[in-house]
Amino acid sequence: MSSSTDADEKKKESFNAEAASLLVNNLRATFASGTTRSYEWRASQLKALIKLCDAHEQQIIDALYSDLAKPPLETVAYEIAMFKNSCKAALKELKRWMTSEKVKTSIATFPSTAEIVSEPLGVVLVISAWNYPFLLSLEPVIGAIAAGNALVLKPSEIAPATSSLLAKLLGEYLDNSCTRVVEGAVDETSALLQQKWDKIFYTGNGRVGRIVMAAAAKHLTPVVLELGGKSPVVVDSNIDLKVATRRIIAGKWGCNNGQACVSPDYIITTKDYAPKLVDSLKAELEKFYGKNPLESKDLSRIVNSNHFGRLTKFLDDEKVSGKIVFGGEKDESKLRISPTILLDIPRNSLIMREEIFGPLLPIITVDKLEESFDVINSGTKPLAAYLFTTNNKLKEQFVMNISAGGLVVNDTALHLAVNTLPFGGVGESGVGAYHGKFSFDAFSHKKAVLYRSFLGDAPVRYPPYTNIKMRLLKALVGGGLLGIIRALFGLS
């Protein structure tokens, strides 16, 4: 037993700042050699990722089941299928993304032509999260590779089975001279963060997000931070309640049992409508998960005892005792908490102060639905906000007045799947965006290029400066042809 511990210690010891530095230098040398630049290389890597999914689907399902008890259907639908689709879309668009964009020039720089060229940033770091450990590790990797970078992926140690599967599979399928996986926890991440990267892409929480950005600041490294927040659901009364309820359930408990960055966090509805909503939720929840949801195989478990403790504290808060109208059952040995609804909780309760990230759904009631906007705006900007209504005016006001990463009207979470929409936060919910072309752009530098010729040199630019030159320059920069003519003839 001691020998395996020694081996483990050695393994842990070996990845320190020195090892990290060596790794980055190796990747920089490979990047400088130009390997990652060609379309062929990038396409081959994306194709390899698709093959990886096809050949190892069961292993991926098993790893996610081990880490989260994630139902196989959720893994297939939300992790594997979504990822494969992103890969295929990237492959299809890659040539177009790589083509430079011609832009117009004005009379101020006449004669000239101009374009914007996308080039890779260099060597990038992707730090992933535990809740969708497969998708959230590899989706940014698509962008990094499509944009032609070398990269290091640091999967979350809180999902260890997926982390080691990723290390193994990426090692087998991708070009190791350009793409590497570093497993580990705080020490390894700190060692990585000390290095100089050309971009850091982090998915996780605000506390660590600040640490990542502070580390990046030392090297002036740009970052994308995909964080979270309390994504509210505003529920109006004149809606198809059954459909709305099922969509709320799908977005809440159907997404890793509430442990998703875009899961509905809490509901706001009117005092009058709340009882109807609660009844509908109870009815549909039973249809989905049966009479004993604690045992349902269609729900993920809580990821670990840390988070289990965090969630039970919310329920133990004396401000919410007596407010549980459904669920509230727990099984610590299996790390399970049943779908739980709390009604009419005070705004200053513990559960309303931080992102829940679990299967507890508080309902806040207001007199008039318009008050919900104030409730939302009094908190920090969330990653997503949802509204169920058929009232067009309310929809307009919602879109205009609620600041969040993304908004969905009459559904939840789905905007993730639309790769023409940028996916990212604002304020506390994050910086930057990705998905689709936004991923490519996130990992690219858009270089401005101006082509001038040796013809057409305007003496007005150069000293000695005279009044005539001043007049001409005003006309030229001001951009009017008439003005230029007048200046030339001394008429201005």
Partner: protein, 464 residues
Amino acid sequence: MEINGEFLEESVRELRQYFRSGSTRSVTWRKNQLTALLDLVHKNEDAISESLYQDLGKHPVEAFRDEIGAIGKSATYSLSCSDIPLLFFPAKGEVLAEPLVLALDPLIGAIAAGNVVVIKPSEQAPACSSFLANTIPRYLDSNAIRVIEGGAAVSQQLLLQKWDKIFFTGSPRVARFVMSAAAKNLTPVTLELGGKCPAILDSLTNPSDFKLAVKRIVGGKWGPCSGQACIGIDYVLVEEKVSSHLVELLKKIVRRFYGDNPLESKVISRIVNKQNFTRLCNLLKDPLVAASIVHGGSVEEKHLFIEPTILLDPPLDADVMTEEIFGPLLPIITVNKIGESIEFINSRPKPLAIYAFTKDETLKRRILTETSSGSVTFNDTMVQFLCDTLPFGGVGQSGFGRYHGKYSFDTFSHEKAVMHRSLCLEIEPRYPPWSKFKLEFLRLAYKLNYFGLLLHILGLKRYK
């Protein structure tokens, strides 16, 4: 008035309240502000020129070309593009050697995007800073746009506040402080920094082309604020065999532009302050560097004046070749073959701009694909600044983020994703309880295999 933490907190609170009132959201308000800004610039041209002359000894034509005209053009361009707003932030900027345009250009973007703004102009250009502090409140809505003057202490206080965006123009050293402070609140930043912008001069066979190239190099070195510009040429790379011809031409053109006594010519800016003057003089004190001077080198401390100075092959490890010069010293670095310039540039931090004078299409291609910089301009210098359709910003040590034209608007906006769904048309397989049927359905749906889906629904497809 004392600018302390309390005053700033109160100011920020007032600005946020005004923002929440929604006044800055309307297209009318934004257009009014931009028009007022144009008015400010047009009606105060003389005062602006005077301030720039006081701070930097800048000639009015240079002031117009690089600052007044540029701002006027940017504001006019923004006014002509009516965009629908998305989401908004307060912003802040710090400025150095193009004190006016670098304070006001980002301001245009911030206003166009509907934000409330605090501007912190550079204390190193005090006349311009005062001008902005006194004039902006007279033209713009001071509920939304404030100017706060001061030095490092005030900047530090400002950085303690929570902003929705910080826009910084300046040096990498200060940028690190700004970004670290921003990290505490997860505030996104745009950093417009500098670098050693090289000019690659290929051997051009047509002598008049070569002459024109050198003329543009002179214009791009000493024209902007006597070399104190982030996109000014820092050094030149040229093949050994044409280096002496280059030096001769440079001397000739410098004499033509600035006269035999540049100090008296009044067409060249002076050094911004004592600190930078001393820094530049120290660069020349290194004996090996001093030995490489082929033109100029004289300094006049009273007027903070340094004459246009040309160095031929100074030692590569001297400060003059390892830090951004930001002054009127022009090193010429000779190489055997011009293609070696690429490796030279790549072994140094990524600059804000690369200039290349060449007609060789292969070399152009190589420069584009093998080097990395904020921008590349072929056969000219500086003018990319005027092109509003090109993003202006750096990469690596020269910064990140970009502005100008619509990019300014985007820099100060949040692009919010909005998805509308209808409540009809339900797809059952989205919901638990899960089954093999639903799994297969979703598989086929993701593959967009509509025919397969149809068969599946009709029960005609076999699945595992």
